[in-house]
Symmetry: C2
Subunit: 79 residues, 2 copies
Amino acid sequence: DAAWQVVDGHHLRRAYRLPDFASGLALVNRIGALAEAEDHHPDLLLAWGRVEVTLWTHSVGGLSMNDFILAAHIDRLAP
Amino acid sequence: DAAWQVVDGHHLRRAYRLPDFASGLALVNRIGALAEAEDHHPDLLLAWGRVEVTLWTHSVGGLSMNDFILAAHIDRLAP
């Protein structure tokens, strides 16, 4: 969970640990609002106590500068 | 997307297609509220236009009657 990782040279992934399901759902909503505002939508996996974010730029089929910017913004939303 | 599938004899999975990201996020919130009410929490993968639900019973390490009941309830929440 320590940091974002580049996976397969294709996307960024980070997992956040949360104390319960509701905290994870709240984080998904915060990230969702940011994604809509920036029109850049990560994949979000919500499990009990955990949110996993996967991020890439569909139009380039991989990573772009926007992904790293959004990753930094998402970090600010996590507890 | 047609129906729930039993995967590896271990969990139930179904994907729902949605017209956009916001509709998917709204479905995640409806399922999340149900999960909290029933104290039974699926894994929820939210992607643009898609929500994938994975469901099993942690205490038995596989499927129980509760999973099939929750699956039926989740179907009522989908658009």
